[in-house]
């Protein structure tokens, strides 16, 4: 008898990548942040961070607002309601995976 597949919650592949997970978690903890804050928090290079931010923006998970502070361009990032919901679903899903793995190993 083959065991049936367990009913596991789906995992969003866009958030599951470590770099994007770091970005999503960082933005979930604040209202909004600029590029320098995200770079310090995630430890990513400028190019890498920029590429991942674009992917998340294309998916509708974050908004990018370009503005000026004095004479310098300044870009602000924040999670959209859709992004916040997707991150919370991902987080709950991973916690469920870990809970089941823990009880299976116990």
């Amino acid at each position: 008898m083959t065991p049936s597949a367990p009913n596991l919650p789906p995992i969003d592949p866009l958030i599951h990548a470590p770099a994007r997970l770091a970005i999503m978690a960082t933005l979930a903890a604040v209202d909004e942040a600029d590029f320098r804050y995200l770079q310090r928090a995630t430890g990513l290079t400028k190019g890498n961070l920029s590429a991942h931010l674009s992917k998340l923006a294309d998916a509708g998970y974050i908004t990018i607002t370009k503005t000026f502070r004095g004479k310098y361009p300044w870009t602000l990032y924040r999670l959209t309601p859709q992004g916040r919901a997707a991150f919370e679903t991902y987080r709950q899903g991973m916690l469920e995976y870990l809970r089941r793995a823990g009880s299976a190993l116990a």
């Binding site: 979930a28 600029d34 320098r36």
Partner: protein, 207 residues
């Protein structure tokens, strides 16, 4: 950033955001200044009557209301260009209500309990304020892993021991308030100077 799947990355990100908000020392300077001003105005209002009491209440409330905006203004000038900008998430009304209610209930129970036990008034005012600061700094030091708060908690614990031993019956609640205000001003200034030395202004755009 450590995004280990065995831990919750959101907890790490929240702790990082809190540390980022406190790492430059500006919050300590502003809160310290507020406590000193609060202590001075309170003492003056006790001596000079109702007019100054109303002024005291108005100034204290307005400053408390605008404190966050003032810290933000200072950070925009010195911190954000160096270490990046983020706006912390504000707790919901429900969270604030629950938090305030818990603090109020604990405080009332503590005062009623200590009064019933026959603890003198000066000890209630002076000792309870010092105990509050000790607990608050221990919590901040542990929560944000910041040594300056652990040191401040230690100094408050020493003050508490001294209060119990020396029993200064003329001690008022404003004394530990102003003392902690000055301590926060000193700790904040030292932290801010170190922060500015460690984070030179980067060249080029702010993106």
């Amino acid at each position: 950033m450590a995004t280990s799947l065995s831990g919750d990355p959101l907890h790490w990100a929240k702790a990082y955001a809190h540390r980022h908000w406190l790492e430059d020392g500006l919050t300590d300077i502003v809160v310290g200044g507020y406590l000193v001003l609060y202590g001075i105005l309170f003492e003056l209002s006790q001596q000079k009557g109702l007019g100054l009491t109303l002024l005291f209440i108005a100034v204290v409330l307005i400053l408390a209301w605008r404190m966050r905006a003032f810290i933000h203004y200072l950070k925009a000038r010195w911190v954000y260009p160096r270490a990046g900008y983020m706006r912390p998430r504000r707790p919901s009304w429900e969270q604030r209500l629950v938090g305030s209610t818990v603090v109020l209930v604990v405080l009332v129970l503590l005062i009623v309990g200590l009064t019933t036990l026959g603890v003198p008034d000066w000890m209630l005012a002076c000792g309870l304020t010092t105990a509050f600061f000790t607990a608050a700094f221990i919590w901040a030091g542990w929560r944000y892993r910041m040594w300056r708060y652990v040191v401040l908690a230690g100094l408050n614990a020493l003050m508490l021991v001294w209060l119990v031993l020396a029993q200064p019956t003329n001690c008022r609640a404003t004394y530990p308030l102003v003392t902690n205000g000055v301590l926060l001003l000193l700790a904040g200034t030292l932290t801010f100077v170190q922060f500015m030395q460690r984070h030179p202004l980067p060249q080029g755009d702010m993106t």
